[in-house]
């Protein structure tokens, strides 16, 4: 029960954090709804264990909480990779821009 409460509080904090970011226009409307659907889903699964058991049975993992943790871990891994690739792309574009600028200034 305590674990459920802690998880629910954590998720509520995350939802509030997403809302603050949206209010300050740091994230788009699509991301705001996307994150909220995701977090509300987690909140529902945490509060109503039966949902998690159904999902766990569907996925083939024994206990509901295990399935939740496994899914969470996978999501985090995916997000890490996605962010890393995004950063790498941005770094590459930035470097190319700086290099072109250096070569262009020399031509003038």
């Amino acid at each position: 029960m305590i674990f459920k409460i802690i998880t629910a509080l954590f998720v509520v904090t995350l939802i509030y954090n997403v809302y603050c970011n949206y209010r300050e226009r740091k994230i788009s409307r699509i991301l705001f709804f996307g994150f909220n659907i995701f977090f509300i889903g987690i909140l529902l699964v945490t509060c109503f264990e039966r949902i998690s058991i159904t999902i766990a049975k569907f996925i083939g993992i024994g206990r509901g909480l295990d399935a939740l943790l496994a899914l969470g871990l996978l999501t985090l891994l995916y997000l890490s990779l996605y962010l890393y690739l995004k950063l790498k792309t941005l770094e590459k574009q930035l470097v190319e821009f700086v290099q072109k600028d250096a070569l262009h200034h020399n031509k003038r």
Binding site: L94, V98, Q99, A102, L103
Partner: protein, 228 residues
């Protein structure tokens, strides 16, 4: 021989002037790539006769080398040398390496501090460098004695396909990987490294060296995993 000496430089105002002056005695094309220095490195390099290409922000040594190589290739230099800005390298070594590339007609001549008996390499650095050598030799199939030496001489044609994916320090490993992939002919040449020069960043302790090496290795491995 039409040689361009490329010097990546970041906050090296203490040494860059002397380095360029020494090189200018023998080379007409000394190209300094100022990688967003916050000090007067670029001004000093210009004053002492180098051609300076300026990166507006610091993007890494690999990126600076890439800029220099792109420029040198566009100017049709036949030989391209890379030289450190911190005063660790000797011009006499570079001259003998250029002589070696002319004589042997190799694609690349790589400097090696381990082939020279004159080097007094600190023990911890020797150990870390040797681990790097072991790793590189195992992963590339090359047989080298020093894998992270900034003193290199290339036949310009051999660099035409080089495109760095890592812009920070792990570019040294990328160059060696490039040599292996494109089956470039290479030879190592003994060089002397001055460790006691005014380059403060090159005289760090064991802990910093280990952290830096681990970081370079991590960057290189992650980049390799992502690329493949």
């Amino acid at each position: 021989m039409n040689t361009a000496v490329i010097i990546p430089c970041y906050n090296e105002e203490e040494t860059i002037g002397v380095v360029v002056q020494e090189l200018r005695k023998f080379f007409s094309a000394v190209i300094v790539i100022d990688d967003g220095s916050l000090d007067s490195s670029a001004e000093l390099a210009t004053k002492t006769g180098a051609l300076v290409l300026r990166h507006k922000i610091n993007v890494g040594q690999g990126a600076a080398l890439q800029t220099g190589i792109t420029y040198a290739l566009s100017q049709n230099f036949t030989t391209i040398a890379t030289f450190d800005a911190d005063g660790q390298h000797q011009v006499s070594d570079l001259l003998s390496m250029i002589e070696a590339i002319q004589k042997t007609r190799m694609d690349v001549i790589l400097g090696s501090r381990f082939l020279s008996s004159l080097n007094n390499i600190p023990l911890h650095r020797r150990m870390i460098l040797k681990m790097g050598v072991l790793f590189t030799n195992l992963t590339t199939g090359l047989k080298l004695t020093d894998t992270h030496n900034g003193l290199r001489v290339f036949n310009a044609q051999s660099l035409k396909n080089l495109k760095f994916c890592e812009f920070r320090m792990s570019h040294a490993s990328e160059i060696l990987e490039y040599i292996a992939i494109y089956h470039l002919s290479y030879k190592e040449h003994p060089v002397t490294i001055t460790y006691a020069s005014c380059s403060s960043r090159s005289t760090t302790g064991l802990y910093q060296d280990m952290i830096r090496s681990a970081h370079i290795l991590f960057q290189f491995l992650v980049s390799k995993v992502i690329r493949t």
